[in-house]
């Protein structure tokens, strides 16, 4: 059973930062203190004004700025819904169900931690990185993308740990995929957290499994409700079909049938 309470809240959009043609960072404020939220959890955002967007959109929690009471969401413009959301006028109230889902598990103090992200999948790793650093551990980020322009929030990630990058077109960092980065041969990690395109996470999981490294992934299965009622977002695990919105989105790779 879940160990968090969800609420339906209207948050006010206070800032939208265009990162490039495909990505925006949106910051939302709430008049009361934001609920407790953990790295890995997500939000069901209702998008108004988009005729083809009927259901809410599940979006990872990128960051929570407790001092300013701001929630950050990193949005990739993939379709009508996300494009409409990204174009929301400042000051608009956006309705959200939050927080939802489980969270990345806490590392142990003796762990050497690596956070691997791809594309917009880097989103949940920012808050995770900060939380791990606050616990006194060193954090290493390994972020991959097709091209330099798809590497997101590098300045933010740098605040919490060392950042290594890969790009498929060699426009930044090392050329290739994250699993090909030299840091994996230079340093030994005992715990990996990863989020990004499924083939990337599968490659990371494969690597971690071979090396006997603890590894958690974050899935983004298509969903309708986000609260464990509709049974649409299931992932086939060793425990059968489970909802990625309640038993996930974070899964230990040992649970998956990859």
């Amino acid at each position: 059973m879940q160990n968090y309470t969800s609420s339906i809240l209207d948050l006010e959009l206070v800032e939208t930062k265009t990162l490039n043609a495909q990505y925006v960072l949106m910051k939302f404020h709430h008049e009361s203190p934001l609920p407790e939220m953990q790295p890995g959890q997500f939000i069901q955002v209702r998008i108004d004004g988009s005729p083809n967007t009927y259901l809410r959109r599940p979006i990872s929690i990128n960051f929570v700025d407790r001092e300013k009471n701001l929630l950050w969401l990193l949005i990739q413009l993939v379709g009508d819904g996300t494009k409409t959301l990204a174009a929301t006028p400042i000051g608009t109230k956006v309705n959200m169900i939050l927080p939802l889902g489980n969270n990345f598990s806490k590392p142990e103090l003796k762990d050497t931690v690596l956070l691997i992200g791809g594309g917009v999948g880097v989103a949940p790793l920012l808050m995770l990185g900060k939380k791990i650093k606050d616990k006194g551990l060193d954090v290493t980020f390994l972020l991959g993308a097709r091209s330099a322009k798809d590497l997101l929030e590098l300045d933010e990630f740098s605040k919490y740990g060392q950042v290594f990058t890969t790009t498929e077109d060699a426009s930044a960092g090392e050329k290739g995929f994250v699993t090909q980065h030299s840091i994996l041969t230079e340093k030994t990690f005992t715990r990996i957290y990863t989020c990004g395109p499924k083939p990337m996470m599968q490659a990371v999981a494969n690597y971690a499994s071979k090396k006997g490294i603890e590894c958690e992934v974050s899935l983004e299965n298509s969903m309708a409700c986000g609260i464990g009622a509709c049974l649409c977002c299931v992932e086939d695990t060793v425990d059968g079909h489970v909802c990625t919105c309640t038993t996930g989105p974070v899964f230990n790779i040992k649970k998956l049938k990859w």
């Binding site: 309470t5 969800s6 609420s7 339906i8 209702r46 005729p51 083809n52 967007t53 009927y54 259901l55 809410r56 169900i97 299965n221 298509s222 969903m223 309708a224 409700c225 986000g226 609260i227 464990g228 009622a229 509709c230 049974l231 649409c232 977002c233 299931v234 992932e235 086939d236 059968g240 079909h241």
Partner: protein
């Protein structure tokens, strides 16, 4: 009430609303044996709706009776169980087990399931198939028997009359409409099962029409559902002849919608001077309006 498959077992919604505010919940499709359901992907968003191909995933009626029922039996609302099956024997055995649960006043019989012994045709697509299931369950099940009708038929009133004659206490209508979604970029179907059930606001006109037609054909109460997401929608179904309504897909968009709809119905009655919501049932005024006999609006010669 809340519709089966959209409200879990009620527990999923306690963060958002007080379950005592609504008339009842219909817990999701329960089968005799554990079912894993269909492979992912199981859903596709469609214009003003969605398709689902969940495949009746549930842990089976024994798990429900032993593990889930004790947890939910004291929820302060009516709890109905949706019963699904592949054979008539499955339906009967499942119904008997649920009958033993004191706090469950009724079941909703899902006859849209394929009859595996008869080539996979859904029980509810023929009057004869529907009647046989209902008769068999009626023989053993003494509490309220609500039968959920499939709209994927030529004449739903025929099925409704058949289940009424077979002993149903009420009918709920409509279940999902058969539909499909295609991913044009990848050139593959979106759903793992290719086709699935359509629900949401887009089905309301069809559901309303079917409720209205059926209200003229049977005497037993009709529970209307199909795209209801507001009090106005609910009232339209009551006017069309429904005695009660269920809210389904709308719960996904606003988990707190059902008490708002209940309040809205009360507010409508006050505003229009109705002393009881019962006065709205079948109160549609159609004097002077003729439903079209032809499928098109052109006059038939």
């Amino acid at each position: 009430m809340t519709a089966s498959g959209t409200f879990g077992y009620g527990e999923e919604f306690t963060d958002f609303m007080n379950l005592a505010r609504i008339g009842g919940i219909v817990v999701k499709g329960t089968t005799l044996r554990h079912r894993e359901g269909n492979p992912y992907p199981r859903m596709a968003e469609t214009p003003m709706g969605m398709l689902n191909a969940v495949g009746l995933q549930n842990r089976g009626v024994h798990y429900f009776a032993e593990t889930i029922y004790p947890r939910i039996m004291n929820i302060d609302t009516n709890i109905l169980v949706n019963v699904s099956g592949s054979t008539i024997e499955d339906y009967v055995e499942t119904a008997e087990i649920i009958q033993g649960l004191a706090r469950i006043p009724g079941i909703e019989l899902n006859i849209s399931c394929p009859n595996v012994k008869q080539g996979g045709m859904a029980f509810g697509t023929t009057a004869e198939g529907a009647a046989r299931v209902v008769e068999a369950v009626r023989k053993v099940y003494k509490k309220h028997l609500m039968v959920k009708l499939s709209p994927n038929v030529t004449d739903i009133t025929e099925i409704a009359r058949a289940v009424e004659a077979a002993g149903a206490d009420s009918v709920s209508m409509i279940n999902t409409l058969l539909g499909m979604a295609i991913n044009a970029d990848k050139r593959i179907p979106v759903l793992s099962t290719v086709t699935g059930g359509l629900s949401g606001a887009c089905v309301k006109p069809i559901a309303l029409r079917m409720v209205w037609q059926t209200s003229k054909a049977i005497q037993i109460p009709i529970v209307g559902l199909g795209g209801i997401s507001s009090a106005t929608d609910a009232i339209e179904f009551l006017l069309a002849g429904a005695s009660a309504i269920q809210v389904g897909t709308a719960n996904f968009i606003d988990p707190a919608i059902t008490p708002k709809i209940a309040d809205g119905i009360v507010e409508y009655c006050e505003r229009h001077g109705f002393k009881s919501v019962r006065e709205l049932i079948g109160a549609l005024e159609t004097e002077g309006q003729q439903p079209s006999a032809c499928l098109t609006d052109q006059k038939c010669s």
